[in-house]
Each structure stands twice: as C-alpha cells, then as structure tokens.
C-alpha cells in the first residue's frame, strides 16, 4: 500500500471483503498507520448505518394488492371469462362456492378482462369514451366470480353482504379501494376514490343530491356519485335499477 492510497474502489472492495488475503492484509497494515484511510473506513460505516436506518418493511396489504393486480392481469391475458361461465357440469354448486370463498379469503378476486393490464398501468390504454379507471371497475364487475346463491332479485329486501375483502388498486393512475357486495342474486362492485371518477363521454347526468352520472359498458351498469369521496358502483343490472341498487349499499 503506498502511503495514502485513497482509491475508492480498492478501499470499498476491502470493506466489502472482496480482496484476496494478501490484498486484505496490506490494507489492514495500512490502516494501522494511516489516519486518513482509517477515518474513511469509519465514515463509510457511519454512512452505511445511516442508510440502513431508512429500511422499512412493506406495508401490510401490499402483497394482497400486488397479487390482486397480477391475477387480474393474468385473467385478462387469458382473455377468457371466469369459471362462472365455464364451470364443468360435474362440479357441484358447493364446490364452486368453496372455491370462491377460498379465493375471496386469499384476496384473489381475479377476473377475466382482455387488456386489463393495460388499463391498470398508469398512462395505460384509455379510450376517449371510457376512462381507464372507470373501465377497470366495469371490467372487474363483469368478471367477479359468483356462487349465485338463491335469493331475491335486486329489488328484494335482503341486506348487502360483503364478499371477500377490500383491495386497493390503481388504474389509469387513479387509486381506488374495491369492495364487492352481494345483494340477493346480484354482486355489485363499489370503487371508492378520493379523486372523482372521470365521466365517460356517453354518460348521463343524474338529478338529485350532489353530482352523479350513469353509464353502461357492455352488460355492466355504472353509477357514480360524488361527495367527500367519489364512489362508482358497477353491477350487471338494468340502468333503471342502478340508483336504487346504489342506495342500498353501505356508504363509503
């Protein structure tokens, strides 16, 4: 070691334990005599300790969120419907129900949506008529698995039952929390966001308290109401039943 060899690469390699035995021994000897290099070693250690202070575990729920997004994307890639339409005849209704419960408990509310990955990504594909965030909610509602238990029609009196657990997701750069509610034979997806859901081009304004609009994407009716948060209800019901359905769901 020649005097004050401050070569950062060599010293860093020594500190990382990547020098061979002879090289490491030379540095050991050098550090005994060189105050400048010894100080650099101590500062390196202090800097590392300081940086390590910033470590934080991933927040609870992030794994569920990632799993949910990937499963949605996976279903979208397959371009197929959820087994709701493909359940093998020999499978019993109970099997379907058990399977659904397991998936719900796992936070795996996967759905089949062509090109859903594109709308989930910020800046992803977004048609002029249907904003990405709204499309993602509609697609999700289209493919929410359902055990379809017997029960009254949407206009019935059964209380809403939450299915699975809430999942946070971003679509088109908009963050939202998705919940699924079962009302009789209908399952409705409710997305809540702190930002108003963009109004699709062909949406219709709804008179009543606050700003609200309705729209339709395929078989899914959409009903958005804006208050302190924006709430988008998506369900496979006729447009005329949307407001009544939304009114029966718990407030966000």
């Amino acid at each position: 070691m020649d005097g004050h060899d401050r070569d950062h690469g060599l010293l860093a390699a020594f500190l990382a334990g990547e020098l061979d035995a002879a090289g490491a021994r030379r540095w050991d000897e050098h550090l005994l005599a060189c105050e400048q290099c010894w100080r650099a070693v101590r500062e390196d250690r202090a800097g590392r300790q300081a940086a390590q202070l910033l470590r934080q575990p991933a927040p609870p729920g992030l794994a569920d969120r990632v799993t949910f997004a990937v499963e949605l994307a996976a279903a979208g890639m397959a371009g197929q419907g959820w087994p709701r339409h493909r359940v093998r005849p020999q499978r019993s209704r109970r099997w379907v129900r058990l399977r659904w419960r397991w998936l719900a408990a796992a936070g795996a509310l996967a759905a089949a949506v062509a090109a859903l990955a594109a709308v989930l990504l910020p800046g992803g594909r977004e048609s002029a008529s249907m904003p990405a965030a709204v499309a993602a909610v509609a697609h999700y509602a289209q493919t929410v698995p359902s055990a379809r238990p017997p029960g009254p029609a949407p206009g019935g009196s059964s209380a809403p039952v939450e299915v699975g657990k809430p999942v946070t997701v971003s679509a088109g750069g908009q963050r939202m929390v998705l919940r699924v509610w079962r009302l009789g034979r209908v399952e409705a997806v409710v997305a809540v966001s702190t930002r108003p859901f963009p109004m699709p081009a062909r949406a219709q304004g709804v008179t009543g308290p606050g700003m609200a609009w309705t729209a339709r994407l395929g078989t899914i009716g959409l009903y958005c109401r804006n208050g302190s948060t924006s709430e988008l209800v998506a369900a496979p019901v006729p447009q005329s039943q949307l407001a009544a359905l939304a009114a029966r769901l718990p407030a966000a």
Partner: protein, 181 residues
C-alpha cells in the same frame, strides 16, 4: 404474457420488501411508492415469459427503476432528481462543543435521525444514491447491484463508498449548520 401467474407470484412475492425499499426511493414527487410497486409487478409479469431466472430481485429492481423513470418522463421530470434543499433545517442532533474536532463518524452515529438521513440521501448524486439504496437499504450484493445497473462491480463499490462518505459528511454539516445546541 400469459405465463402462469402463480409461478410468477411464488418467484417474486418473497422479494416484495426489497422492491418496496427501491420503490420508496425511486418514486418521484407525486408518485406513490405502492403504485410503483404494483406497476413493477405488472411489468415483471408481462416480461416473465422471457425472464431467464438469474436473480429475481435484481431483475425486479431493474424493472422498478425503469418504471420510475417512465413515470418521471410522463410527468416530464427526471427521477432521482431532487432539488437541492436547505440543510439548515435538518434535525440532526448537534454534538456539544468542539464539533469541528470530533470524528465525523462519531457525530453521525450519535445523531442519526431518519428524516435527516432521508433528506441528505436525496441530495447525493443519483449514481451514488441508487447504489446506497440498493445495497444498504434493500440489501442487494455488489454483484446484484452491478447487474441491476449494468455496470462493473468495482464501479458499484466505489460509488457506494463515495456515497456513504458524502452522506456521513452531509449529516454532520447539517447538524453543525443547524445552529441548535
């Protein structure tokens, strides 16, 4: 696309913590780290079919950094570019008297404060900051960091060393200039 998502999740979810560390420091202003993690996993899933499986967490970190850069481009801003900030306000504990004569390492270790460290880290040059985030915070090895950044391992070691020295000295300067007892 179209790879088995269960295989993908089994291979990648164990690295969620380290991806989150990278995302926290790669996310630009206005970008939520959790959104960046979600985007990272969606991009990784899309590319999973062509992934050769060398180092999963290095692969994920590279995707995360690229996703952060893409997001920054979308916002017409560069990632990792943090405006120089006044260090006077940093809440680093100031050692009593004779500060100048004290060893930098002693002062830093005595006055560690996460918020101050975060602010000082933000003013480091990007290459040094990225190496520190990957190695010291996310726990990547020098070889993995080199693979993520596409540069020689020696370069990574030199950058992380320079970055640590600078970080330690910035923390001391912040404490000294704070003017508090």
């Amino acid at each position: 696309m179209g790879a088995d998502h269960r295989t993908f999740l089994e291979a990648t979810l164990p690295h969620l913590d380290v991806v989150y560390q990278v995302a926290r420091h790669a996310a630009g202003d206005g970008q939520d780290p959790e959104d960046l993690v979600q985007e990272t996993y969606l991009r990784a899933y899309a590319a999973f079919g062509s992934w050769r499986g060398e180092s999963t967490r290095a692969w994920l970190a590279a995707i995360c950094l690229n996703a952060a850069r893409s997001a920054a481009r979308r916002r017409r801003r560069r990632p990792w570019e943090v405006a120089a900030m006044a260090l006077e306000a940093l809440p680093v504990a100031r050692a009593d008297g004779g500060e100048a004569a004290r060893d930098v390492a002693d002062v830093v270790i005595a006055g560690l404060d996460a918020q101050a460290v975060s602010r000082c880290l933000a003013v480091l040059p990007e290459p040094q900051r990225v190496c520190i985030v990957l190695m010291d915070m996310a726990g990547y090895t020098a070889a993995e960091t080199a693979a993520v950044l596409g540069c020689p391992r020696g370069t990574v070691l030199a950058r992380v060393h320079r970055g640590r020295l600078k970080l330690a000295r910035l923390l001391v300067e912040a404490g000294v200039s704070d003017g508090r007892p």
